[in-house]
Symmetry: C2
C-alpha cells in the first residue's frame, strides 16, 4: 500500500513521491507532530490550509489514552481525528525509553508505568505492531531500542542488536496489508555500528527506513555524522526518514544528505513558547520591539497569520496568554517549515538545490549550539520532573 | 451612527434591527465576550462562521494591555483584532468595582491598581469615554457605579445617583460622532430605585440603554425582578441591553421581558470547563459516558464541531487538555446561544414567541439554582485570590 518513486536528485538531495492509501506525499516532506491525535492548537482544516501532506501521531500516548482499541472501534485514527491524509505512527519506542527509571527492559520488551496514572504496561515488538494496526496509520514504525545520549558503546551495540532482533519480530508480527512498516536504524555515534545497523535493517526488506537514535540531546555535529554514516548504506529506492529532526537549518542540511522524511515537535513547541521562524532565524515575539509593530510579523511569509494579523496583535495575544495565539503562531511556524520543504523540493527538481541550501544556510542565523543544548536539557528536565515521556 | 428599528413584538418580546457603522445587528442579539481583543480560542473567521453579528470587548483590560492609545494608533480595535463587524465596549465600570479593596472611590472617579502589575490608574466618566473613543467601538458604555451584591440600600441609592451624575458627564465628554453611547440603569433590588434610575437615564436621550447591576451573584429571582422593574420605564424605540446575562434560560426569559441585547462570558467559560449546552440542559463532557460515544455530541446542533467530530474525540481532547478542545467547545456553545437567539427572533417575527419560550424552558433542565450560585461564588473567589477583576 506504499510506493516510492524517486523523481530527481540534486547532489545527494532527493525529490520523490511517496504514495499511500490516503494520498500522495511529495518528498522531502516534514510531518507535523500530532502526539495525542491532534497537532496542538490546529484543526485538520488548518493543517490542509498550511499544506501539510502527512502528519505523525504517537502510539505510546494514544495507547494509554484514549486506547488503541477504542480508536479502532471508532474506525481508526484517521476517522477519530478527522484527518483524511497520510498518517505515520511511531512505535512508542522513543517514548518508552525516555521514561528512564520507570521502565524494565528485557529482550522480550519493555515494561513501564504510564505517566498518566502509574498503571503498568508492556510494549513488545508484537504489541507495538498490533497497536499501530489498531490505529490504522498508513505507515507504522518498528519497535526499537533507542539508547540515551551518553550511553557507553557496549550498551549502544546491545541496543542496536536488540533493535535488529525486534525489527525481525515486527516484520513477522505484521498482519495488516494496508499498512507499511518502516524499519529503524540505530548505532549511536559509531560509524561502524551505524553501517552495520543500516545494512542489517536494509537487508530485511522494509518499504522505508528510518534513522533513529538522534535528537536525544547530542551536539549537532554528532547527529550530522550519524546520518552521513548511515545514508550510503540505505537502498535508494526507499524513503529515508530522519526521526525527531528538526530545526530549519537541520532540515536543509539533512535534505542535502539525502533524507526524504522528517518529524519534529520543535516548530509547534517553539511557536507556543513565542519563538517564531523567519528566513533570517528564530525570533522571540515577546521582544518589546513587537509591541507597536503594526505590520505583518514576516512580510515574506505566505501564511494566514502573517497575512491576517499584525505582529503587535500577535505580541498582545502572547503576552495576554490568549488561546488564539497558540493557533496563529503554530500556523506560522509550521507553514514556514512546510514552505521550506516545498522550496527545497522545487530546487531539487530544478537542479539548483546546492545553491538553494547555501543561500538559506547563509541567511539563517542558527540558534547558538550551546543555547540549543541548554534549552533542550532544560526541557527534558521539566518533562522528567513531571514524569512525562519525550514527545519529540 | 446607530439606528434601531423595532420590527415586531410578540407579547413583550421584541424583534428589531440595530444598524451600526460596521453592519446590522438583528435583535434579540447575544454578544460573545472578547475581553482582551479576542473571543477566547476563536478567530474572527470562526465568529463569522457561527453567526456572531456583534461582539463585546473590555475597556478595562485593553486600556491596561496593550493600551487604548496603541490600539488607536493601529487604526482602532476593529482593525487591531481584525473583526470588521459591530463592536461594543464596556466602560470598565464593572471590572473596576469588582476589584474590591484595590480601589479608591470619589465622586470624580475610581483609582485602582492594575491586576497585571500593581500600577495605579484612575477612571473617570470622561476618561472612560475617551478610552472607548480611542478603541473606536461602534457602541460605548457610560461609566457607572455597579454596587456589589449585598450592599445596604443606602449605598445602592448612592451608587445609583452617582451613576446618574456620571452618565451626564459621559454625555458631555462624548466627542466622537461615529460612536453611540449607551446609558446604564442601576438601582439594585428596589423597584422604586430601579424605576427612578430607568426614568432618569431614559430622560438623558441615550440612543440605547443598558440594565446594569445584575449578574453580580444574586439569586436568579432578584435579577428577573430588577428587569421587570426597569423595562416598563425604558423608551420602546431604543435598544435595551441586559449586561452580563446569560445562560440559555435567562436569555429566553429576558427576551420575553423585552430585552434586545445581551453579553455574557458564561457560554465561552463553560465550554472551556467542559460544560456544553444542549436543548435539554448543560452537559459535562468529562462524563465517562462520552468516552466511547462515536456520534456527534449533539445531533440536533448545526455547529461545525458537532458536524465535524465525535463526542468521544471531544472528550479525549478535553481529558488530554489539548488546545484544539477549547476552540471546538467554544464554537459549539456560542453557536448554541446564537442559534437560540435566531430561533427566538424568528418566533417573535412569526408571533409565536410565547409558545417557543415555553417549549424551550420546559425542555431545558436549568442548572440547579444553588449549584449555580455556589459555582459563581467559587469562581469569583478564585478571581479575587488572583487579584483579577470579573470579566462577566
Amino acid at each position: 500500500m506504499l510506493t516510492f518513486r524517486l523523481e530527481k536528485t540534486s547532489g545527494t538531495a532527493r525529490a520523490g513521491l511517496m504514495a499511500t492509501g490516503h494520498g500522495d506525499v511529495p518528498t522531502p516532506a516534514f510531518m507535523p507532530v500530532g502526539t495525542q491525535a491532534t497537532v496542538k492548537a490546529l484543526s485538520p482544516g488548518d493543517l490542509r490550509d498550511i499544506g501539510a501532506r502527512i502528519i505523525l501521531s504517537n502510539t505510546y500516548h494514544l495507547s494509554l489514552r484514549p486506547g488503541a482499541e477504542l480508536i479502532q472501534r471508532h474506525g481508526g485514527l484517521h476517522r477519530f481525528m478527522r484527518w483524511d491524509g497520510p498518517l505515520l505512527t511511531d512505535s512508542g519506542g522513543f517514548q518508552v525509553f525516555s521514561l528512564g527509571h520507570m521502565r524494565k527492559l528485557t529482550d522480550d520488551g519493555v515494561t513501564f508505568r504510564s505517566h498518566l496514572d502509574g498503571s503498568e504496561h508492556t510494549f513488545t515488538p508484537e504489541r507495538a505492531v498490533l497497536l499501530q494496526e489498531q490505529l490504522g496509520s498508513d505507515i507504522a514504525m518498528a519497535f526499537d531500542h533507542c539508547p540515551a545520549y551518553g550511553e557507553p558503546e557496549a550498551k549502544v551495540r546491545e541496543a542496536t542488536e536488540r533493535t535488529h532482533r525486534w525489527a525481525e519480530r515486527c516484520l513477522r508480527a505484521q498482519a495488516s496489508k494496508d499498512q507499511a512498516l518502516f524499519g529503524i536504524v540505530q548505532g549511536g555515534w559509531s560509524a561502524e555500528l551505524r553501517r552495520f545497523s543500516a545494512e542489517t535493517i536494509a537487508g530485511m526488506g522494509f518499504p522505508g527506513i528510518a534513522i533513529g537514535g538522534v535528537s536525544v540531546g547530542e551536539p549537532r555535529a554528532l547527529a550530522y555524522a550519524a546520518v552521513e554514516h548511515t545514508v550510503p548504506f540505505l537502498p535508494s529506492d526507499r524513503p529515508r526518514y530522519l526521526m525527531g529532526v528538526g530545526s530549519p537549518e537541520d532540515l536543509v542540511r539533512n535534505i542535502a544528505a539525502g533524507i526524504d522524511l522528517f518529524d519534529c515537535a520543535l516548530p509547534t513547541r517553539a511557536a507556543r513558547n513565542g519563538s517564531l521562524f523567519t528566513r533570517t532565524g528564530r525570533v522571540n515575539l515577546r521582544n518589546a520591539a513587537f509591541r507597536d509593530a503594526d505590520r505583518p510579523f514576516d512580510p515574506a511569509c505566505d501564511c494566514s497569520t502573517c497575512h491576517g494579523y499584525s505582529a503587535a496583535y500577535l505580541h498582545h495575544l502572547l503576552r495576554a496568554d490568549e488561546l488564539l495565539y497558540y493557533r496563529l503562531a503554530t500556523i506560522h511556524n509550521l507553514r514556514f517549515i512546510l514552505r521550506l520543504m516545498e522550496d527545497a523540493r522545487a530546487a531539487i527538481i530544478g537542479e539548483t538545490f546546492p545553491t538553494f541550501a547555501e543561500g538559506f544556510l547563509t541567511g539563517y542565523r542558527s540558534t547558538d549550539e550551546e543555547t540549543r543544548l541548554v534549552q533542550k536539557e532544560r526541557w527534558l528536565e521539566r518533562r522528567r520532573e513531571r514524569g512525562e515521556p519525550n514527545d519529540t
